[in-house]
């Protein structure tokens, strides 16, 4: 495998595209690949839940309540005799969608003002950052509960709350990277050849600030999933008869003496998915990192 970072200008070889270079560098990281494979499989399984689930996730069968794992019920049954494996497949849809919602909301709230603050500087930057500081000064859980109290308990409202809570980090990240990119010589060079400011922002600033954003997105998808689990555990997120992994853990805790396996499977699902998202984030960070500069 050739390594472009070790390539000197004198021995330039056929040029791979930026995407191919990124893919090659990402593919070199086993752990990140495993994480990606896990998340992709999980997503496919969640999408195909109605077809691959062995039982109706809502079908109550009071003759087989709180059973442990068996050949007919892989992950056992819950307090109403529902198949835990089937329920988890459907809950995966809720959990993944929730994480997606929260991250999209956080991006929508955080990225544009971060970009503007980083580019404008001065009073606009100052005002934006102080508002962000104020938001970050709130204890996150209390703020989330307060937001849900205002909007009413539902999964979407919970994810709006999580999105709002995650947005300051996106804002700060965007502001910091935008500021450093905007002061790069190539931006000045673009100005000197007569590019308009909007041309500079769309062609030179944005392409160079998205990499750190991708890393943060995958890490925050994990954080959002944890937050959803936490809020649903408290009963502030997913409402019955829907279920997310967090909500399943929340209900299972009441039967922890009789059926400890009930809490184990959704708990493991949360842990593995969050871990997988983090390793993807790590892999992205390493794959998107700047090439080592080579001197002539």
């Amino acid at each position: 495998m050739t390594d472009t970072s070790e390539m000197t200008g004198a021995v330039v070889q056929a040029s791979p595209s930026a995407l191919r270079r990124f893919l090659r560098r990402f593919a070199r990281q086993r752990l990140a690949l495993a994480g990606l494979a896990f998340v992709v499989l999980l997503t496919l399984a969640a999408l195909a839940a109605p077809w691959i689930a062995p039982y109706d996730p809502l079908a109550i069968n009071l003759e087989i309540v709180l059973q442990g794992p068996s050949a007919s019920h892989w992950f056992g049954t819950d307090e109403l005799g529902r198949d835990v494996f089937s329920r988890m497949l459907f809950a995966a849809r809720v959990s993944l969608l929730a994480a997606l919602q929260a991250v999209v909301i956080a991006l929508l709230i955080g990225v544009p003002p971060g970009l503007i603050a980083g580019l404008a500087g001065g009073y606009i930057d100052n005002f934006t950052m102080r508002a962000t500081d104020a938001l970050m000064a709130f204890p996150p859980l209390i703020l989330a509960v307060a937001i849900i109290a205002v909007l009413g308990p539902s999964l979407t409202n919970a994810m709006i709350a999580v999105g709002i809570l995650l947005s300051p980090t996106f804002l700060r990240l965007m502001r910091a990277t935008t500021m450093s990119v905007a002061s790069e010589t190539y931006v000045e060079a673009a100005r000197s050849i007569g590019c308009t400011e909007s041309w500079i922002i769309t062609r030179h600033v944005l392409p160079n600030v998205v990499s750190p954003l991708f890393v943060q997105i995958s890490v925050f998808a994990g954080v959002a999933m944890l937050a959803e689990a936490g809020l649903s555990f408290l009963g502030l997120g997913t409402q019955p008869p829907d279920s997310s992994w967090g909500a399943m853990v929340g209900r299972a805790i009441r039967y922890i003496d009789h059926a400890p396996s009930l809490i184990v499977f959704p708990g493991l699902a949360i842990a593995f998915t969050v871990l997988a998202l983090y390793t993807i984030g790590d892999g992205l960070r390493d794959a998107l990192g700047r090439e080592v500069r080579t001197e002539s």
């Binding site: 330039v12 100005r191 007569g194």
Partner: protein, 320 residues
């Protein structure tokens, strides 16, 4: 063609939170002209304001005072779309070729950008023009689909030059354009610049700290010290009969590959560092380091006086 009059550039420094913001006078009372097709060099130590001057000439910084005229049009009075319209006439090559090319763009797009922005060419015509420009600077078609990080410093500077000459500027500002390169690459780039000047008749504003390079390429030279021009004149005169003690000290510091001449060249060495432009000395800014300083140097800022053998000097003493 280029006429810089009484130029002054200030920066505000400091946080302004706990301490008062201070005024850094980077460039003061600079006067010079550059004729069409000529190479005018500005030399000085780091901190002498020469890079700031370059950035003011291409209007990347707004001067506090004075004017920059290009073919009679005052650039300092322009902004927005009107400024963008004159920008093709004066282009800049930056010092660090590792920083001046957008790492996310292909070489093709980097060189095509000025043409695209000013609507000079598009489609197949643009492609042909980019290739022509790359060949002018010694690169070729297979370089087009590469990224800057795949190139050496010298090759990157060639790309930067191709991009700068794409709009056929009348003036090319070269801000330390070869100082980041190693010596053999420097020579190649200098030769390329000379070839391009012969072919297109561009004028160069050549900013450098390297006297050897300046002597080789410049028609006229201005020596700057702490934001002011202390001496200017034809290259031959500056190098053979330097009038300002600072110029003499600079030239004496250039090593000569002949011990006898090296010894004969030796001037009283300069002591100390270049003072902070935040707190410039009174009178002649050079008086603290000047071996010939007189009381008057401390009190009055010297004005430029014409020299019989060409150019001008700003010095009270003018030692023989």
């Amino acid at each position: 063609m280029l006429e810089v009059r009484n130029l002054a550039i200030n920066f505000k420094v400091g946080s302004g939170l706990l301490t008062r913001k201070r005024l850094l006078k980077a460039v003061q009372q600079m006067d010079f002209t550059v004729a069409a097709g000529e190479t005018f060099a500005v030399v000085g130590e780091s901190g002498s304001g020469k890079s700031t001057l370059a950035r003011a000439v291409v209007r990347l910084v707004q001067p506090a005072n004075g004017s920059v005229h290009l073919d009679g049009e005052d650039l300092t009075a322009l902004s927005g779309a009107r400024l963008r319209r004159v920008r093709p006439n004066l282009q800049m090559v930056f010092q660090d070729p590792y920083a001046s090319l957008d790492p996310s763009k292909l070489i093709r797009d980097i060189v095509a950008e000025p043409l695209a922005v000013h609507g000079r060419a598009q489609g197949a015509e643009l492609e042909t023009e980019v290739l022509r420009l790359l060949r002018l600077v010694g690169l070729d078609a297979h370089h087009m689909a590469r990224y800057p990080h795949e190139f050496s410093g010298g090759q990157r500077q060639r790309v930067a030059i191709a991009r700068a000459i794409a709009l056929r500027p009348k003036l090319l500002v070269l801000d330390e354009a070869v100082s980041a390169l190693d010596v053999s690459t420097q020579n190649q780039i200098l030769n390329l610049l000379e070839d391009l000047q012969r072919e297109f008749g561009m004028a160069y504003l050549f900013i450098s700290h390297d006297l050897g390079v300046v002597r080789h390429i410049a028609d006229r030279v201005a020596v700057t010290y702490l934001g002011r021009i202390v001496e200017q004149g034809p290259t031959k005169r500056i190098f053979e009969a330097p009038a300002h003690p600072y110029t003499r000290a600079l030239l004496a510091a250039v090593p000569v590959p002949d011990p006898k001449r090296q010894r004969a060249n030796r001037e009283p060495p300069l002591s100390g560092e270049i003072p902070s432009p935040l707190d410039p000395p009174s009178g002649c800014a050079f008086h603290g380091r000047c071996p010939f300083a007189q009381p008057v140097c401390r009190e009055q800022i010297p004005v430029h006086e014409q020299l019989a053998n060409g150019g001008s000097v700003a010095c009270h003493v003018r030692p023989k």
